[in-house]
């Protein structure tokens, strides 16, 4: 029984792991081999809830606990203001002894706020002092163009920090769209840092496991 339970638990991870590399599709054509990935039939994803979300952002972006998100200066987003939408229990205040099984309508919105805030805080710290995450960016300049060394290094660093993997070539291509605005003009390096961090940090891959 234990073996069976273990197998069921590990199956999606094994399927995912088996599809992580498709034998050299790094030609930049956008073919990641993902079509060959078999869909997980049970799809039993776990939700990274408030405390884990906070800790992962602290670890990935090397932020202090109070440096992740403070809602309008009135309290921690993850522990005080939006904790229920982020999957926490609240036994003392509202008698919610077990966290909600599924995300709420407001969950994606709140996740946007939390990750955006954390990314802005990290970018501000890196701009104002010795950079920790955005080490290859010159904050006084425009964003590096897709394909530049600084571009690839920045995106790769974020993928490794937030998703514990390297970006696929087509993902690098997609994120190249964040180096410019709607008119095709380069954005600032600061905006590029924040937007790239936000796009990766609010992906379902970061929130579920």
């Amino acid at each position: 029984m234990i073996t069976r339970t273990l197998l069921h638990s590990l199956l999606p991870a094994l399927v995912l792991a088996s599809g992580c590399r498709d034998g050299g599709s790094g030609d930049g054509t956008g073919d990641t081999g993902a079509e060959e990935v078999q869909r997980a039939q049970r799809g039993e994803l776990q939700w990274k809830r408030n405390a884990a979300l906070q800790r992962d952002l602290m670890r990935a972006l090397e932020l202090p606990e109070d440096g992740v998100c403070n809602e309008l200066g009135r309290g921690s987003c993850t522990r005080e203001v939006h904790h229920i939408a982020l999957g926490a229990a609240d036994p003392l205040r509202i008698g919610l002894y077990e966290p909600l099984p599924d995300t709420l309508v407001s969950t994606p919105i709140v996740l946007d706020r939390v990750v955006m805030s954390a990314c802005v805080n990290r970018a501000n710290l890196d701009r104002g002092g010795a950079p920790v995450v955005f080490t290859e960016l010159d904050f006084g300049e425009k964003a590096p163009a897709e394909g530049d060394e600084a571009f690839t290094a920045t995106v790769t660093a974020l993928y490794r920090r937030l998703l514990s993997r390297d970006p696929e070539p087509d993902e690098l291509t997609l994120l190249g769209g964040l180096a410019v605005d709607d008119a095709g003009e380069p954005v600032s390096a600061h905006d590029f840092a924040v937007l790239t961090c936000f796009a990766i940090g609010t992906s379902s891959e970061f929130l579920f496991f």
Partner: protein, 494 residues
């Protein structure tokens, strides 16, 4: 049901396709558009959870000493001196007058709202229903008070309400209460949209309506939208996204992010729902107070410190702006301070264990103060800001839910005493949708126990019991919620 879901999905898709939303156009709008058929027919339900056991015998079904007809027996029952009972002019309902704070803790409290003043003002909308509930366990009693002890396939009345009236709304079922009042029903077939949005921080909830506004240093919104677009592409193209494309949990999350979030942000809900006054909003965040805050604050003067009032205020905004059709609010366990003294007891009505009469009077006053404010506001505001839709009050019901009653006895001649939980009780509903100024059922003076009534005729009969399922059915019938097991309560309808 299939039809309903289809319609909701169609509306969501249309909203996305138009780059705006039914909600967005319906808001800022006041008279920008006529209400839809759904808007015109929609009912609104406000559930006020009187946590801890609100006793009907200590509010709108009191017994006087002389009615007991036996002085010695009266000394041992929870009865009131005849002079203490007030029946306002025109009212068929009565209540205790001012209860002097007595007992060890009497001087700790500040009595701010009298029951008789409420009764004089609102008796025409008040319906009292007797009931015999089925549990004296707090959590179980709370849960059954909103599920009718499971009469409707295990759906809470909030879920049933959302299904019936909320298919076009973004968050039709908002629940700010606690304990058993926030437990979901057990009907696995319930569509996700009808499930409750749990709100623990009403003062902070507005921020959950916009993913960017008020986040200091966030890039320009156009750039954020660009990043969101890239994110969606990444999510669809990634190995993770393809592997778990069928995950219900992920689908639900992405569905809300892709369909609902744009509607809320387009409607600028954050500014509309913000209950913080300008002096508490640092201008650097660029967030505005709700345009209705002055109106709300005139009725809920403690909303910044009293969660009960902030919940009630938010419930008005959620309904007014067309976000929800049912809001549930609940008394917190911790006491609330007024100017110098406590305005609520610790553990709400359950402080009756220590000091029954004081706790009941204080807490009933606190509950009714919010009901009074709600009625005033709902009578003042046009639904969705559209005069053509009439006042919100015309379509509203306020249900004061509680888990059970309290013991009816006391130590002989005691003026301050504690009570345990009792199955026997009654319920207060305030609404123009029911026959008001009426008590359905009755009370036996020699025991202070209530007895039930026939829902189809309204006839009260000693020995008859009405349960949670009767209350649920009465609410459902008045709100056009149909289900096969519904008990006929047509005698109560206005």
């Amino acid at each position: 049901m299939t039809t309903n879901i289809g319609r909701r999905q169609m509306l969501l898709a249309m909203a996305g396709a138009m780059g705006t939303t039914a909600l967005g156009s319906a808001l800022g709008r006041a008279t920008e558009r006529e209400g839809s058929t759904a808007d015109k027919d929609r009912k609104l339900l406000f559930i006020l959870c009187a946590t801890g056991g609100a006793s009907i015998v200590d509010s709108f079904l009191p017994v006087t000493r002389t009615e007991v007809d036996d002085d010695a027996l009266a000394d041992t029952l929870n009865v009131y001196d005849d002079a203490k009972i007030i029946t306002p002019t025109g009212s068929n309902i009565r209540c205790p007058g001012y209860v002097e704070p007595v007992g060890l803790l009497g001087n700790l409290y500040e009595l701010g709202f009298n029951l008789d003043g409420f009764l004089a003002k609102h008796h025409r909308w008040m319906t009292v229903l007797t009931q015999e509930c089925t549990s004296v366990n707090h959590n179980v009693g709370q849960y059954r008070s909103v599920t009718g002890a499971g009469i409707n396939r295990g759906r809470t009345i909030m879920e049933a309400m959302a299904l019936r009236h909320g298919e076009d709304l973004i968050i039709p079922n908002c629940n700010m209460a606690n304990d058993g009042y926030i437990q979901p029903g057990i009907d696995a077939s319930l569509p996700a949209f009808a499930q409750a949005e749990i709100i623990a921080s009403p003062l902070g909830f507005a921020a959950a309506m916009d993913g960017v506004k008020g986040v200091l240093g966030a890039p320009d919104r156009k750039l954020v939208e660009r990043a969101r677009g890239v994110r969606e592409s990444l999510d669809d193209a990634s190995m993770f996204g393809k592997t778990f494309a069928d995950s219900p949990r992920r689908q639900r999350f992405l569905g809300n992010r892709r369909e609902v979030q744009p509607r809320l942000e387009a409607a600028q809900m954050m500014d509309r729902l913000t209950l913080l006054p300008p002096e508490l909003l640092d201008p650097k965040y660029g967030v505005m107070s709700s345009p209705l805050l002055p109106t709300l604050a005139s009725k809920f003067s403690n909303l910044l410190v009293d969660p009960w009032e902030s919940q009630a205020a938010l419930s008005v905004l959620l309904a007014y702006y067309g976000l929800s059709c049912v809001s549930t609010i609940g008394l917190r366990q911790e006491p609330t301070f007024g100017n110098e003294k406590l305005i609520t007891t610790p553990i709400a009505f359950d402080f009756s264990h220590n000091d029954h009469r004081m706790a009941q009077y204080l807490m009933w006053g606190h509950v009714l103060k919010a009901v009074d404010a709600l009625v005033d506001l709902l009578q003042q505001l046009d639904y969705l800001g559209d005069p053509a839709l009439g006042k919100m009050w015309d379509r509203s019901m306020i249900y004061v839910a509680t888990e059970f009653g309290r013991d009816k006895t006391r130590p002989a001649k005691a003026e301050s005493w504690g009570t345990g939980h009792s199955l026997n009780n009654g319920t207060l509903i305030v609404s123009p949708l029911l026959k008001g100024n009426r008590v359905f059922g009755g009370i036996e003076p020699s025991t202070c126990e209530t007895y039930g009534f026939d829902g189809s005729t309204g006839e009260a009969t000693p020995g008859r019991n009405c349960s949670e399922s009767h209350i649920y059915s009465a609410i459902a019938q008045a709100l056009d919620i149909e289900f096969p097991e519904r008990i006929d309560m047509s005698a109560l309808l206005a």
